[in-house]
């Protein structure tokens, strides 16, 4: 075990870094830029039962220190993903977290059943927080009873551990987290994007064809840090943290808030090499603060009074 390795249900990662769902396709585009086996894992783009075309364009709009997207869960469908996309990732021998979505409970369950049966999938990420589709997605993720019920059903259908990806667009994320934990979630992914909007001031029209979109990027990192900090103290399952992470420093901040692993999203668009660059820099930062293993960073913000690092 190296000092960067972390272990979460279904995900034995040689480092805590994985690309976030939707920001990395199914990996093949980035495989042209670097060796994906450097990654701790990979989260693939959301799978639905049938292929989906997604929303009309424009689908992205830049905002201050962030961006809005409204892709609309475009994907070739779960069968196609299992047959054509997953095998291409096999040579890299890294854990694959498969994000799954649907319009109905039945669709979520069927997609989970199929994709979790693939030997190449290490764990499932239940997407109940996509803000950009009319049916499903965030509908399940903003009412904690329906979130818990869906989690229970998906968990029953899954052959692999289930991570529930939480929406920040709720009044009390801790209640939501506790509800899905009680329903059997093996872990949490948080946070998904914040619903936002951008207008062209000249015409008054929204920039995005979908009108609203999900805000990501450094602008949302403080929100993610706060939510992970609050939730991680109230649940016992591990958290994959995400939301605006762009640097190795951000990774350690997010782990300090309570994350056990960290996903990098929008930053991949800014710099295709961001994930390997972060991984390379982590040991240096750990040395600087005198931490041996990166897993010790998890929850350091609220645990530090119990075992102060200065007493080592």
């Amino acid at each position: 075990m190296s000092r960067l390795s972390v272990s979460l249900p279904g995900l034995n990662m040689k480092n805590p870094i994985l690309p976030a769902s939707g920001c990395f396709g199914f990996g093949k585009e980035y495989a042209k830029w670097y060796d994906l086996s450097l990654l701790g894992g990979i989260t693939i783009k959301a799978a639905t039962l049938d292929g989906r075309f997604g929303n009309r364009t424009p689908r992205v709009a830049e905002t201050e220190s962030g961006m809005l997207n409204a892709i609309g869960l475009q994907n070739p469908g779960v069968v196609n993903i299992i047959e054509n996309e997953l095998p291409a990732l096999k040579p890299y021998n890294i854990p694959i977290l498969a994000n799954i979505a649907g319009s109905t409970e039945e669709e979520y369950i069927e997609v989970t059943r199929q994709i979790s049966a693939s030997p190449l999938v290490s764990a499932v990420e239940l997407n109940i927080s996509c803000p950009n589709v009319k049916k499903g997605g965030i509908q399940f993720g903003t009412h904690y009873k329906s979130a818990a019920e869906l989690t229970r059903k998906v968990k029953n259908a899954s052959e692999k551990p289930v991570y529930v990806k939480l929406s920040p667009n709720v009044s009390n994320i801790t209640e939501m987290a506790q509800a899905v934990e009680d329903a059997g979630a093996d872990g949490l992914s948080m946070i998904n994007t914040l619903v936002g909007m951008k207008l062209d001031w000249r015409t008054g029209n929204p920039i995005l064809a979908n009108k609203t979109g999900g805000l990501s990027g450094p602008a949302i990192k403080p929100v993610a840090i706060r939510m992970i900090y609050e939730v991680s103290q109230k649940v016992s399952v591990p958290i994959i943290g995400m939301g605006g992470v762009s640097t190795a420093e951000d990774v350690l901040e997010m782990m300090s808030a309570g994350a056990s692993a960290v996903a990098v999203g929008t930053a991949n668009f800014v710099n295709p090499f961001v994930c390997p660059e972060i991984i390379e820099k982590l040991p240096e930062l750990l040395d600087e603060i005198g931490v041996g293993n990166i897993s010790e960073m998890t929850g350091r913000s609220f645990k530090q009074w119990k075992t102060p690092l200065s007493s080592r």
């Binding site: 364009t57 668009f269 710099n271």
Partner: protein, 256 residues
């Protein structure tokens, strides 16, 4: 790798809000295909995160220098326009698939039609076509005289017809208003501009062969984020990604 740090050798306003930026450095040597683009980082990656896809306008291989033309319209491109000589610009590329110039029989002529900030890649393309012996005609559409650029440079390559919406330069109207006469010799058509213009060009071109280069807001620029898709009836998937399958497509291949 395809990420380069290039040094600004000049960055000047050549028409209203239109800037010509020249960049030099290793990596320019790979920019051989016209119609490809560079994904250009405008700031320091904090406030303005996303890169801007800018078409290659010209390449000087001896000086290892690439020319990009862009419109400083929003905050990001305005920041880019403030880059001083000697500053470094982070670019990915060349990205995308460029124009296929092998499709043109040298005996045939080519008609290159560009609108607004879609005009720049036609300069590099026009030079390449001329170099292989193709007779090139340009139709360049601008809003007005003040927005026009590179007209004299295009004239050095071939016949250049200019249209302006307000009639302050050349023919009053749109590029399609000037196409008729040039279609007689059944040229191969190459067109770059906004989708509405490309659609009109495609309709006017009828059965002629041609290539269209599409513009769209992009995220990653390498085909991973699915931001810049366009519907198609010619592929099983039902869509193409403009950044990585294009930006150049055969006429009729995509649904505009």
């Amino acid at each position: 790798m395809m990420k380069h740090l290039l040094k600004v050798t000049s960055n000047t306003e050549i028409a209203r809000n239109i800037f010509e930026m020249k960049l030099t450095g290793p990596g320019v040597g790979s920019m051989t295909a016209s119609g490809q683009f560079l994904h250009v980082s405008v700031g320091n990656h904090t406030s303005k995160l996303l890169r801007r896809p800018l078409s290659i306008c010209d390449v000087d291989f001896e000086r290892e220098e690439v020319t990009l033309l862009y419109r400083a319209q929003g905050d990001g491109t305005k920041q880019l326009s403030e880059k001083q000589t000697g500053e470094v610009v982070d670019v990915l590329g060349p990205l995308g698939n460029g124009f296929d110039i092998d499709e043109v029989d040298v005996k045939r002529s080519a008609l290159l039609i560009g609108g607004g900030i879609g005009v720049p890649p036609l300069y590099y393309l026009g030079k390449q076509l001329k170099n292989v012996g193709v007779e090139v005609t340009f139709i360049l559409g601008y809003q007005s005289f003040e927005d026009s650029f590179y007209v004299d440079k295009f004239k050095e390559i071939g016949e250049t017809i200019v249209t302006t919406v307000d009639g302050s330069l050349g023919i009053k109207g749109f590029v399609t208003d000037a196409m008729e006469r040039s279609l007689v010799e059944a040229p191969v058509i190459y067109s770059v501009g906004p989708a509405v213009m490309l659609k009109a060009v495609e309709e006017k071109a009828g059965i002629l062969d041609g290539f269209l280069s599409l513009e769209e807001r992009m995220g990653c620029g390498i085909g991973a984020c699915f931001a810049c898709v366009c519907p198609t009836e010619t592929r099983k998937s039902g869509y193409v990604k403009i950044c990585s399958d294009g930006p150049v497509f055969k006429m009729g291949e995509v649904v505009l």
